[in-house]
Symmetry: C2
Subunit: 353 residues, 2 copies
DNA sequence: TTGTATGCGTTATCAA
DNA sequence: TTGATAACGCATACAA
């Protein structure tokens, strides 16, 4: 490790500390500190003078030093499956846009939807980085295994996005999955479809968003006087080898399915690929809807009919809720539910018969 | 601001400091510090004892405190246009996978390819967050306007990914754009195409990756005895309104173009969309290749023929180079050039005539 | 091999 | 309204 006994000359590029500013301004460091962070009792006169001087000198408070005394790192975590997923990326950008305004940085942690990695990420965030809080799209976990149930984490500020654990009283920004599920299913029903399969990613089997969307699907079916057929609930491993394509399509054929509701866009797109491989025309013989309106949904062909719920906005809101709570703690629980709306594209068509 | 004069009882969840460990171990904090970071002179005996104890107590060194004395934040920046872009997302995941192993966190900063935002991001990273270094996909900037030319930044450790400024002697992880450009162009030539347009995103007009790929395109043409036609260099604004579709296609028709080389996948996909809107069959009447092999390239239909150059690996390498430099400074300049390889899919076909 | 003492740059307390 | 000063938690030079 180098000697680092910094000489004045070395102070060239922004090794400028509050002390330097104080010296230059002819006041104490305490005054500079107060002046710069607005709040406290300083004369408007000196405040302006110091602010100008600090700006001119290019002074920026050292976060580490400030953290040490403040007990705040001005860092937030974003814990999600994979940033490669367009949904998470949008949430990130939304959250970051707000956080940056407020002087917070966001540290991304990818979990691959693995609750063990999620645990590691949260421990690192809490104990090491000492992030002030986190935004999380929780990973699916066996009952009671999710780290969010642990008191140490539960007492730490975080907000769930899209997925959550209903029995946890934490802040959350959700999508109205029930309504979205109904919206899409009704759309299919209106087109004359009666045998509609609900296809979900097996990895997310127990997650709240799958449950909610399925509930919506069933509710819409019920409205139309159709009894949900358990045979039509199909788990699909999105990353499974292509060989299952014919199997799945044969299965759908056998069950008389004319439309598929994919619980997320990715799943719907996968079904679309499998259909193409099997030579089944979409939407001619099979209508498909997704959920999310991610970038891929308008790129595939035919473009996917889906539901949009503004992930970027959700990220922004999540950051706002989190930072609000950090800056003025309250016991009020925040819950925001986004209204999904139909994005009618070309992957759906009238059922023919 | 709360009182925070922490009482012993409050020490419940991991407000555990090095002092607590020292106390419990019956040694001094100095010894604990040394024991935990391995390096220094401590008996293997006590080292193990302390390590075990620390682990049991759930002690994690406070990053802020450590930073203050170390002058290192253990934070890295990743400065890129948008994380919503699958390329950047992959770079991030690669970089993070390595950084996390080494105990570094990565702070993402999105620039939207705007050099002013890039400047803000870098200043925040350097002066405020005091990140130890950064990985950057530099934004296009008017001559001399890029912040990377400023001495203050130039003397700070960073590594460029994919794009760079050739006259800057910084570390970089690049793709062999020249070779990639040749690879794809040759592929098109082999299929019998002679009028091949090079379509690039106008936003990136002057960027090194565009230049390199175009050079490769021209070199391959030259090999085949074809003189590059300036008429076939087409700038396209990817986010432009759809109305240009017929215009662009008419232009291609008029110029006798039978194949398009999109400088990135996104551009190629956009051309594909425009072709579809104009009722032009791909690859029947128009062959299209992209560059990057991003997730969208295999999702569109027809799936895109493109070149892969392992962005995730590039991110990982960039992090490694950066951290290496941080841990043992050297003057040797690191440059890694990834070899692109052809991913032959269905958006290209024999030229008919 | 271990312990003592000092300082990192900032905020916060309290006295002036 | 301002200034002196004591933390904050850790790493290191140096003494033991």
């Amino acid at each position: 490790m180098p000697k680092r006994r910094s000489t004045p000359e070395e102070t060239s590029l922004s090794e400028i500390t509050i002390k330097d500013v104080a010296l230059a301004a002819g006041v104490s460091v305490a005054t500079v500190s107060k002046a710069l962070r607005g709040a406290d009792r300083v004369s408007g006169e000196t405040r302006k003078r110091i602010a100008a001087l600090a700006a001119r000198m290019g002074f920026r408070a050292n976060n580490a030093a400030r953290s040490l005394v403040t007990k705040r790192s001005y860092l937030l975590g974003l814990v999600t499956a994979s940033i490669t997923n367009n949904f998470s990326a949008q949430v990130y950008e939304g959250a970051d846009s707000y956080a940056a305004e407020k002087g917070y940085g966001i540290l991304l942690c990818v979990t691959e939807d693995n609750y063990r990695k999620e645990r590691q990420a949260l421990e690192r965030l809490r104990l090491e980085v000492r992030a002030d809080g986190a935004i999380a799209v929780p990973a699916p976990a066996p009952a009671g295994k999710s780290i969010f149930y642990e008191p140490s984490v539960a007492s730490w500020p975080y907000v769930f996005v899209t997925r959550h654990f209903p029995d946890l009283t934490s802040d959350r920004v959700l999508c109205d999955d029930l309504k979205g599920g109904m919206l899409l299913t009704r759309h299919l029903l209106d087109l004359g479809h009666r045998r509609i399969a609900f296809v979900y990613d097996s990895l997310h089997a127990g997650c709240s968003h799958v449950l909610g969307r399925r509930q919506g699907y069933q509710a819409a079916l019920a409205e139309a006087g159709i009894k949900p057929d358990p045979e039509l609930m199909i788990a699909l491993d999105v990353d499974s080898p292509a060989e299952t394509s014919h199997a799945l399509m044969a299965q759908l054929e056998a069950k008389g399915v004319t439309a598929v509701f994919g619980h997320v866009d990715r799943t719907a797109v996968r079904v679309m690929q499998l259909a193409r491989e099997a030579g089944i025309d979409v939407p001619g013989r099979l209508s498909i809807v997704g959920f999310g309106n991610l970038n891929i949904s308008e790129l595939v062909s035919p473009p996917l009919t889906t539901a949009d719920y503004a992930p970027r906005e959700m990220g922004r809101l999540a950051a706002r809720i989190l930072i609000d709570r950090l800056e003025r703690p309250s016991t009020a629980r925040h819950q925001i539910v986004m209204e999904p709306h139909l994005v009618d594209r070309a992957s759906t068509a009238k059922a023919r018969k």
